[in-house]
């Protein structure tokens, strides 16, 4: 409908004028940027074809976000040239970038939480000193954009009341309202549920079909394969390759990203389960709002095995994890460690669980696993600071603590290898290694791991997986919760599927197909599937 007026068939139409000569919307030539000693971008060349979806992949810290921040004017390059529609520009700030038709959707949204969607869209591009006319015009424009790109939102909704997916739509609408022809999205699916992500991809396809150019920064190969036309790979600040997505495959991209062949499938020997280390009996847990999220759950984890809990996020896994690790009070039920009931109630439940030999890597490392404002060594002992190894009595033996932190840095290959660095300055993968190193070094009988590789790059994923398997082979019991089905399937020796607070089935990762697990996760399965034999019987 409205699209007729805008574009005929995708990229064929270009803005008229001198600039239209170039087939590239954006060209970056020999871009360099350093932050102190860190050379974040080294001689980067990149050309983005108009009307395409161009993916930029790389591990955490490869320099993707820096490069895009330069294009968006948030940082200024030390040297190099930026061409927009073939014309060189030096982009000095984001306002300038916007004027050139470059819009960005940041990883952390740039929205004012207590403003309405309309106010957020208008902020910074008001027509004049009085707000009324701008708001009226924006409201009309939002309706038009909603029609053209199928981006429906309620203009009067307050940001903090709407879902993350909607907030992202607002960011896209903001960029479009400012006349963006090139849209940069930085890790857009990191915060989205799978269905929200699908919806985003639909919108991006729509935008491309209407002639917009999309730059997608991600480290998820699946997204690259699903939506991009071209893909550029960055590694340690350098641009290593630009490929046509149709001519490549995930294996090749992963190899380029890491610089060596990656085992996307974890290598592990068969499990040798021993005695029951962790047993959970008839556990019931409520969330903060008093809603029962874990409903009469029972299971066991044996020594020398990894039990994976699969499920769509929000089906009680988080509450289960928090309850068993002593962070959330249980309403009823028993948790036993090697046969002895654990008392996990109260504020120091997590501490008592640790003392009893149950270590916990929480799902959200930044909020629960680390104090990011602390130096690395402080986080390395956090929760264990009372141990005699870090000083007897009430004075901390700082030298000893730092020495131990240094050992672990080496052992777990934490980079940069500097225990005095603020934890916030480590990448996501290295932060996770800090938590993992701390919890594994306490030599627990039971290790509970939540989302071990969320937001972690491929090289670190492999390392973390291997460490978890090493723990298993050392005779520990491991309970793994992850929303990444691939991860559960490749790591776990036994899979429990959670749906709506219940464990609805058990499966053998060697035989169960993704489809079967998917059905169970969606709650579409016979009650009889709870028996492992039946679950296996259903496969093929």
């Amino acid at each position: 409908m409205a699209s007729d007026t805008h574009t005929g068939n995708s990229s064929a139409q270009r803005p008229s004028g001198a600039a239209a000569a170039s087939e590239f919307a954006i060209e970056l030539i020999k871009i360099n940027k350093s932050f102190g000693p860190v050379h974040a971008n080294k001689d980067i060349d990149l050309a983005i074809r108009r009307g395409s979806v161009h993916g930029i992949v790389g591990e955490n810290g490869a320099g993707k976000s820096t490069l895009m921040s330069i294009l968006y004017g948030f940082y200024t390059a030390d040297s190099g040239e930026i061409r927009v529609d073939g014309t060189p520009h030096s982009i000095t700030d984001s306002r300038h970038a916007l004027a050139l038709g470059i819009g960005m959707v940041h990883q952390h949204f740039m929205l004012v939480d207590n403003f309405s969607i309309l106010e957020n869209v208008v902020l910074g591009v008001e027509d004049n000193a009085l707000l009324g006319p701008s708001l009226t015009r924006a409201r009309k424009e939002l309706v038009r954009l909603a029609k053209e790109y199928r981006l429906d939102v309620d203009p009067d909704a307050i940001i903090e009341d709407v879902s993350v997916g909607t907030q992202q739509r607002v960011e896209i609408l903001k960029a479009l309202y400012r006349g963006a022809e090139v849209l940069i999205l930085d890790e857009p699916t990191g915060v989205l549920t799978p269905s929200e992500a699908d919806d985003l991809f639909r919108v991006l396809n729509e935008l491309r079909d209407q002639g917009k150019t999309i730059i997608l920064i991600t480290h998820k190969l699946r997204e690259i394969m699903a939506i991009t036309d071209y893909v550029s790979v960055m590694r340690q600040g350098e641009m290593v390759a630009t490929l046509k997505t149709a001519d490549t495959n995930p294996g090749e991209i992963a190899e380029l990203m890491v610089g060596r062949r990656v085992l996307l499938r974890v290598e592990k020997g068969p499990a040798t389960p021993g005695e029951v280390f962790l047993s959970v009996e008839n556990l019931v847990v409520k969330d903060d709002l008093g809603i029962t999220r874990v409903k009469d759950v029972s299971f066991t984890v044996r020594s020398g095995e990894i039990v994976g809990i699969a499920g769509v996020a929000g089906n009680g896994q988080s509450e289960l994890l928090e309850s068993v690790s002593g962070m959330r009070d249980q309403s009823s039920g028993t948790v036993r460690l090697k046969g002895h009931p654990l008392s996990l109630e109260g504020d120091d439940g997590a501490h008592r669980a640790r003392e009893a030999g149950l270590a916990h890597v929480p799902e959200d490392r930044q909020r629960m696993g680390l104090v990011t404002a602390f130096e690395e060594w402080e986080n390395a002992i956090l929760g264990y600071q009372g141990d005699d190894a870090y000083g007897k009595g009430w004075i901390l033996d700082i030298d000893a603590a730092r020495a131990i932190a240094r050992q672990r840095i080496e052992q777990f290959d934490i980079r940069p290898a500097n225990e005095r660095l603020k934890t916030a300055n480590f990448s996501g993968g290295n932060q996770q290694k800090i938590v993992l190193a701390r919890e594994m070094s306490s030599n627990p009988d039971v290790l509970i791991v939540g989302q071990p590789t969320r937001g972690v790059d491929i090289g670190a994923i492999e390392f973390i997986h291997n460490q978890i398997i090493k723990m298993r082979d050392a005779g520990k019991a491991i309970l793994l919760v992850s929303v990444e089905l691939d991860e559960i399937r490749s790591l776990a020796d036994r899979i429990l599927v959670m749906f709506d607070g219940h464990i609805v089935g058990e499966a053998d990762p060697a035989t169960a197909t993704e489809g079967e697990l998917g059905l169970m996760m969606a709650g579409i399965s016979d009650k009889t599937a709870a028996a492992p034999a039946v679950a296996e019987g259903k496969t093929k």
């Binding site: 948030f74 984001s94 306002r95 929205l111 939480d113 910074g124 000193a129 009085l130």
Partner: protein
Amino acid sequence: MDLALILSTLDATLRLSTPLLLACLAGLYSERAGVFDIGLEGKMLAAAFGAAAVAAVTGNVWLGLLAGVAVSITTAAVQGAAAITLKGNQLIAGVAINMLAAGLTTFLGIQWFAQGGRTPQLAPGGRFQNLTLPFANELSGVPIIGPIYADLISGHNLLVYVAFLAVPVTWFVLYRTRFGLRLRAVGENPKAVDTAGISVTRLRYQAVLITGLLCGLAGAFFSIAQGSGFGNNMTAGKGFIALAALIFAKWKPVPAMLTCLLFGFLDALQIRLQNTDILGVQIPVQAIQALPYVLTVVLLAGFIGKAVGPKAGGVPYTKER
């Protein structure tokens, strides 16, 4: 109580809430922009001194007002430089302003006028006179409405009207103008403002200077409108009460006015109750004088509920992550 007594109490309420209201609105601009201002008291005190000193020397109330406002704006600019450009701690910057103002006003007062820190008594031309609104005398005979108009509404000095007029103006600025939208945004999420291509620094300075202007009016009210000269520490903690009112009002203009009226009313009541017996018992003056402050504590602790201020308040903005 008869009408006359009620009216005179309410009349005192308006007068006593005026400096609170001006200071409270002053704080609102700054804090809505993300700069916590504990230095309202200091700016008011400095302005009160500046206004009285110039009014005393020149005998001109307008020059006095101008001086008070100029002093306050200058002080605000210094505070802004510390809190915005130098990214200092905003609380410390405010405390510093308070101490500086308390010390400097007394010191300069003694040096210049040699009256123990006071400024000379102002002549009538050196202070704001009470205004009689049109038809006040004519209407005073009409029952009920007459006295309300003539005694309560009419007969205040200019700054009282300015203070209450500033409420709708502030509301309009905040919610109906581009500047207000950006001001509110910069206090909540300065990074969003920065990425939208607006200068966070400039916005915050603008807000802090408006705070200075309003504090200047509040200070001038003390020394050249309500009083007739400057006395040591004459603002008497009103800047802190205004801050409490701002929190109580959840940083909104109309609730800010109502809260200031409430505090002003408590103050008026306190004066009224000073020489009365309750059931034949003479209540110590000090106990009654403490009443507004005690009630402030009770209100703030008990009734305010969850007061969530501007999210980015108190944090200097830095571009790097």
